[in-house]
Amino acid sequence: DVKVTQSSRYLVKRTGEKVFLECVQDMDHENMFWYRQDPGLGLRLIYFSYDVKMKEKGDIPEGYSVSREKKERFSLILESASTNQTSMYLCASSFWAGGRETQYFGPGTRLLVL
């Protein structure tokens, strides 16, 4: 089974802190994604990466950056956390297999910024 893990289930940070959210997948997937999930808004894509050191902006990249130094690990960075970044963050990974691409999700990190 594909396993996508996230470093923390719950995180509390102060405004202005630098925050790192880590995601690791164990299936050698090319693609990795970071979403945030907010009530009434569904999932919105922040950034994604289709290869090591490659990244592309999603729909809401402002206030975030990412890092992918190794294929299995994709980090989301909040350079200076703000209260409007309080949210659930979901990581996902996928690979392309003849058109049958499926995203596999981690358990999520619930971030509270005070």
Binding site: F33, G42, L43, F48, W96, E101, F105, P107
Partner: protein, 118 residues
């Protein structure tokens, strides 16, 4: 750009009954994929079912089936013999068809909360 609309925020169903969750989408693409994802209260999102747009036959996975109407851009999920474990948030999602090396991403609807009553 693609959009996915789930207009019902919440639904409730009695255990063992059948329920249908609605989803519509808008796209100018001809080749694409549609998905239903389930997110139980424990929060791990899992794939329920997928449909390739080029296939006319509706996808089925055990108690889960879809009604895919390409011309109407409608993609509903039917859950038969509902079980308490089906209680979850359900998301409809769209992905453009892509070739190897190209990029693709999922576009999600806002989700619907389904409660199964004992």
């Amino acid at each position: 750009a693609q959009t996915v609309t789930q207009s019902q925020p919440e639904m409730s169903v009695q255990e063992a009954e059948t329920v249908t969750l609605s989803c519509t989408y808008d796209t100018s693409e001809n080749n694409y994929y549609l998905f239903w994802y389930k997110q139980p209260p424990s929060r791990q999102m899992i794939l329920v079912i997928r449909q390739e747009a080029y296939k006319q036959q509706n996808a089925t996975e055990n108690r889960f089936s879809v009604n895919f109407q390409k011309a109407a851009k409608s993609f509903s999920l039917k859950i038969s013999d509902s079980q308490l474990g089906d209680t979850a948030m359900y998301f409809c999602a769209f992905m453009k068809h892509r070739s190897p090396g190209a990029n693709s991403k999922l576009t999600f609807g806002k989700g619907i909360t389904l409660s199964v009553r004992p």
